[in-house]
């Protein structure tokens, strides 16, 4: 997937955080990596159709709780089922709306899988294929990483952007 199309996912993440959570994401390539001893929480959706791959939102346990609190206005201090559920819904919303952006840019239909969540660093095992673009953002809630992985891209709509 060419970079302008991959950018649609990042742009949507920034817009969704701003409009839905009132949180500004500022890209910061120099942001420190998530420490090895921190629990990494990854909410993701799979993509198939015109592009195969995935969209992933990666945060620490603490940031996940803060995101949930902002999303629902209900405080949470532990990574429980509700926090994970909220994070999954957030990546679902970002992914779904990014596909609308791609459609407007002329990309053929992409189908999203049901969202899911993983704890730890499972994606390290899946780095053997495809292009992975990862951007780290700083925010008032803590660092947020958005990762787009593209295994294959078929056709961009020959009719051009709609």
């Amino acid at each position: 997937m060419p970079d302008p199309y991959i950018d649609a996912f990042f742009a949507e993440a920034v817009d969704t955080f701003r409009s839905m959570l009132q949180v500004q994401l500022n890209e910061d390539p120099a942001a420190p990596k998530i420490p090895e001893d921190a629990l990494e929480v990854s909410a993701f959706v799979g993509l198939s159709g015109a592009a195969n791959g995935s969209l992933m939102l990666i945060v620490t346990e603490d940031v996940a709780c803060r995101l949930y609190a902002r999303f629902t206005k209900q405080a949470r201090t532990e990574l429980d089922e509700m926090v994970m559920d909220g994070l999954v819904e957030l990546v679902n919303i970002i992914g779904g709306n990014a596909l609308g952006r791609l459609e407007k840019a002329g990309v053929e239909r992409i189908v999203m899988s049901c969202p899911d969540i993983a704890l730890g660093r499972p994606r390290e095992n899946a780095r053997d294929a495809g292009k992975i673009v990862q951007r780290v953002y700083q925010s008032e809630l803590g660092p947020v990483t958005v990762e787009v992985k593209v295994l294959a891209l078929s056709l961009v709509n020959k009719e051009g952007p709609r």
Partner: protein, 126 residues
């Protein structure tokens, strides 16, 4: 007003409940299902039918589109208002849902006020 909300996300069900609480005489007026099959069982077992169904699209188990088609195929439920609330934002998604008989299509994330207005508009029409 009695509402049935179908979404596999507890968070979304909670947010929807909060958004539509003004339409409920009591908390029991809103029923919840996690996916389409469960919702169909609830519709079949009663008591009575809801005035409105709010259904997500992407759910583990029976998804919202399959649920909608099933509802429209059954005599007892074919005219029930069903609003799809989904993050599926491609124009083909909305077209597919409307073609399957959705009464309205609302994109996530939604503002509570907008959801309330769309529900009010729906019942003014009918």
């Amino acid at each position: 007003m009695k509402l049935l909300v179908i979404d596999d996300s507890r968070t979304m069900r909670m947010l929807i409940r909060d958004a539509i609480k003004g339409f409920l005489s009591s908390p029991a007026d809103m029923s919840e299902a996690k996916e389409g099959e469960e919702a169909l069982r609830m519709l079949a077992s009663g008591p009575g039918l809801p005035d409105l169904i709010l259904a997500d699209w992407k759910m583990s188990g029976m998804d919202g589109l399959a649920f909608l088609k099933k509802v429209r195929s059954q005599e007892s439920t074919k005219t029930l208002p069903v609003i799809m609330i989904s993050s599926q934002s491609q124009s083909t998604d909305k077209a597919e849902a409307m073609a399957a008989g959705a009464t309205d299509y609302i994109l996530k994330p939604f503002e509570a006020k907008m959801l309330q207005e769309r529900i009010e508009a729906l019942f003014k029409k009918t």
